[in-house]
């Protein structure tokens, strides 16, 4: 299978460690897309936490009646501020790493903001995924995205997706209709995670594997094509 003229083909993806890397990168195409999606999610999450950070609880409206005089709460949610600060530190660390390592040198992000820095990293994802350290960056970004998601003060409504999970073949998939995770599908049984694009691919593959309508039913559970990224 390995083409001797393309030695990169023998590489395994450093993220999923299953699929072949997308030469000359160190990651496969699905993990590339997942990393790109994580960067976009992290930018949206960072902005949303900023909006939530300064919201006071309803009990502190001016007309609220308090049984006893209480000290007003701090005018911002400190744990959200801490989360945003950590996200900022990590993202700018990676921006600096790319600035130091990339030749020819890139210009720094146009704005000193985290969304701009994440957009800057996204624009350089082609170069980044050709570096062996892409695994560390992807791990950091995924961890920060999950942290931003956990810190989101709103409960995430759950929408069950009646599509068998690629990994465990149960109906455990649910799509979180939350802003941060609007495009995230997770399996509650085996914790596999997919993007909506992955789910559409799984759906299309499953449809093609089904026998035509009206044929005798299959003797066992119908197999589902292994198309998605079960991270």
């Amino acid at each position: 299978m390995t083409d001797p003229h393309h030695p990169h083909d023998a590489r395994r993806c450093v993220l999923c460690r299953q699929r072949p890397a997308w030469a000359p990168r160190w990651v496969c195409a699905l993990c590339y897309r997942a990393l790109r999606a994580d960067l976009a999610d992290l930018a949206a999450g960072y902005e949303w936490l900023g909006e939530c950070m300064s919201a006071l609880p309803p009990s502190w409206r001016e007309h609220a009646i308090h049984a006893a005089p209480l000290a007003p709460p701090p005018p911002m949610a400190l744990h959200l501020a801490q989360t945003r600060s950590d996200i900022s530190d990590n993202v700018w660390y990676w921006v600096q790493m790319v600035l130091d390592a990339k030749r020819p040198a890139s210009r720094p992000p146009a704005e000193p903001s985290v969304p701009a820095a994440l957009a800057w990293l996204t624009a350089r994802l082609g170069w980044i995924t050709r570096q062996p350290a892409v695994g560390e960056l992807a791990g950091d970004i995924a961890r920060l995205r999950e942290r931003a998601e956990r810190a989101d003060p709103r409960p995430a409504p759950r929408i069950d997706l009646p599509l068998p999970c690629v990994r465990c073949n149960t109906l455990g998939l649910s799509l979180h209709g939350d802003r941060l995770a609007a495009t995230l599908v997770a399996c509650r049984v085996c914790a596999a995670r997919y993007s909506v694009a992955d789910c559409r691919a799984i759906l299309a593959a499953a449809r093609t594997e089904l026998p035509p309508d009206g044929c005798a039913p299959a003797p066992g559970p119908a197999p589902i094509g292994h198309v998605g990224s079960a991270a």
């Binding site: 590339y32 929408i159 465990c168 609007a182």
Partner: protein, 105 residues
């Protein structure tokens, strides 16, 4: 996101709830219980059987055949095509671009 409420191993369902989770009818759940595919873990205050959600999902998996899978895929397509509630359009993520356009340098 994955709190205790979301854990199918810790969630108990009535027959009707189990049917909804497995996308089958309550009669199918009773049928599975009668065949030994599904074992109730107890009864609620009204005497209704309670099943563990994980067991229900496994029973559904073991009994799934092409007709049900076909119906599930249609339902899944409808869910995927529907806009998610609560999504703020101003902050909703843009879909990823093609790989060919993905990199700048």
């Amino acid at each position: 996101m994955n709190g205790a409420d979301d854990d199918p191993a810790a969630t108990l369902l009535t027959t009707e709830q189990a049917a909804a989770a497995a996308r089958v009818t309550p009669r199918d759940i009773q049928n599975w219980a009668g065949r030994g595919l599904l074992r109730p873990l107890g009864r609620d205050g009204r005497g209704r059987n309670l099943f563990r959600e994980l067991d229900v999902l496994y029973a559904e998996r073991s009994t799934r055949r092409a007709p049900r899978l076909r119906a599930l895929l249609e339902q899944a397509a409808a869910v995927l095509d529907a806009p998610a509630p609560g999504v703020r359009p101003d902050l909703a993520r843009k879909p990823p671009q093609d790989h060919a356009n993905a990199q700048v340098d």
